[in-house]
Amino acid sequence: MFDRLKGIIKKEFYHIFRDQRTLLILFGIPIVQIVLFGFAISNEIKNVKIAVLDLSKDEHSTQITDKVLSTSYFDLDSYLTTFDEIDDGFQKGRIKAALVFPPKFGETLRKENKADVQIISDATDPNTGTQIGSYLQLQVQQYLMEQELKITSMPPPALINTEVEMRYNPELKSVYMFVPGLITIILMLVCTMMTSIAITREKETGTMEVLLASPMHASIILLGKVIPYLLLSFVNASFIIALGKFIFEVPVMGSYALLIGEIILYCLVVLALGIFVSTVAETQQLALMISLFALFLPTMLLSGFIFPIENMPLPLQIVSKIVPATYFNIIIKSIMLKGATLSFILKETLILVGIFFLLMGVSIKRFKIRLE
């Protein structure tokens, strides 16, 4: 039994490594994405002038300030003493952001295990503004991780705007957001598109019939066909995480075990989606079309990867609720950037588990109908 499964897995790897088109999708697309990523980061923030308004002046607030200023991202413009000076700094263009510690910051932190930090960033240029904001927020959170304390900084940095609409950009698009988003997209591409094509290819050539007429159970056949893609997805995900961590300094603040577990869960969901597509499509062409236009594009556009879900018209927001990537995006961002534990992302995790069982149930049923 295990030998037979191994045989199918091995055969699938032959298919993968002997087909240039497959290799291109598997490894070319992530590389292209990363090159784009490189461009995205080329307007990276460096030596941004900030002001610090420390109304507490305690051990924690000074250490956080030191940490922020020790990075190459931020340079100190000045220590302030009043809020008015912040506006002044922005208006004169001396500073791009300000870090505000309320009075008794350290004490509150010690006593209540949480405290507020206010980050104000200039969003005249919304992208840079939000990027600076999230970099600052990250530094604060890293400090807290180091201190093993729990805290919420002010809900994602408040922004000072010349226009009201730009005031609040909860998505905080930045390179930090790009890495988790990229993983979501790539896993979907590899798992859903590649598996659906791999399965329909065997239907098209006729070999699937031969496999099904063999003593091997249909579930073993499917398992053997999807395991290679699961492994490759893992390689791809690890590669992107490593690249993010070591080259672009995107952290993984949560636990790796949880991250891996959630990645496996999401892979299972998108694999199930791929199997589902292969029960609908009779040809590789159709499987490709369905994967690309019915699944991949909506995922890109609606999962919050490109456009913030909150800014979408209501019908699209509803659609985004049934896109599995939407939930995984929340999960992976929370783990990587906020150090979330399972309890924080339990709802999203359970939704993914639900989607998985639903898809598998429907696929198995459809597979059986085909064999009536």
């Binding site: 050539t205 007429a213 063999s214």
Partner: protein, 248 residues
């Protein structure tokens, strides 16, 4: 010849919606015989074969294959048969040897068996120099012979061949039938579909399908005399015209 029935069907039917692709067919195949399933395209040959190989569940009727019921014991049937689909049954992007190992492996052959039978097969087919070549570089006629050998590598009791000689030149077809005879001599029952009427002569017994029904059934000799014909082509033309035939 041993007259033990290895396949037996009674009013076996497959309906797709209202359309009956296979309509109440009853026949039997004896152990060790070459049984031909003839008919024009769309007659229902493949559908009938898929029911017998456990790929499709019948709508009604009864059938046993190698003593097992096609409704309830499909998994057991699969252990006793080999199958060559109407489309191509091997992997083009795998080498000859890799194909042999893969298909032998899914039928549970051990490494030793695979090596031994694989080598014998390659030598018998005279394909030693292409053993490591990808199959897409091998001509179609050879591929069909390879596919047949692979389908019988695990020495099944019955081998099902769905139009194995479709699109193949006459010389290769002859060679292919020699291989079928060899398998039958070794005790394998061969169930083969074809729309080439001349191939009917090579079978011990045949069944002719028209629109999902069996319109002629018996040995080529019996059929020729029943229909008062010189050859099977003529028999087929007469059957297709709907000439009366004393049904079984």
């Amino acid at each position: 010849m041993d007259s033990e029935k290895i396949i037996e069907t009674t009013k076996l039917t497959k309906a797709f919606g209202d359309f009956k692709a296979v309509n109440e067919i009853s026949f039997d195949v004896k152990k060790g015989e070459i049984f031909g399933f003839l008919g024009a395209n769309g007659a229902g040959k493949s559908t009938a074969m898929k029911m017998l190989t456990g790929l499709l569940s019948p709508t009604s009727g009864e059938a046993t294959v190698a003593g097992f019921d096609v409704f309830t014991q499909q998994e057991k049937i699969k252990k006793n048969i080999g199958y060559m689909s109407q489309k191509f049954s091997l992997y083009d992007d795998l080498s000859l040897l890799e194909n042999i190992k893969f298909f032998g492996g899914i039928y549970g052959l051990s490494k030793e068996q695979l090596n031994e039978r694989g080598n014998t097969m390659i030598e018998r087919l005279g394909l030693s120099d292409v053993r490591n070549k990808l199959l897409k570089e091998v001509p179609l006629g050879w591929k069909q012979k390879i596919a047949f050998s692979v389908a019988t590598l695990h020495q099944p009791k019955i081998v099902f061949l769905d139009e194995p000689t479709g699109g193949v030149d006459p010389i290769t077809r002859r060679q292919f039938w020699e291989m079928i005879y060899e398998a039958a001599d070794n005790g394998t029952t061969v169930f083969v579909t074809t729309h080439y009427m001349d191939e009917a002569e090579y079978c011990n017994r045949i069944s002719m399908m028209v629109d999902g029904r069996i319109a002629g059934y018996g040995s080529p000799k019996e059929l020729k005399s029943d229909f008062n014909s010189e050859n099977m082509d003529e028999v087929f033309v007469k059957i297709a015209r709907g000439e009366n035939y004393k049904l079984q």
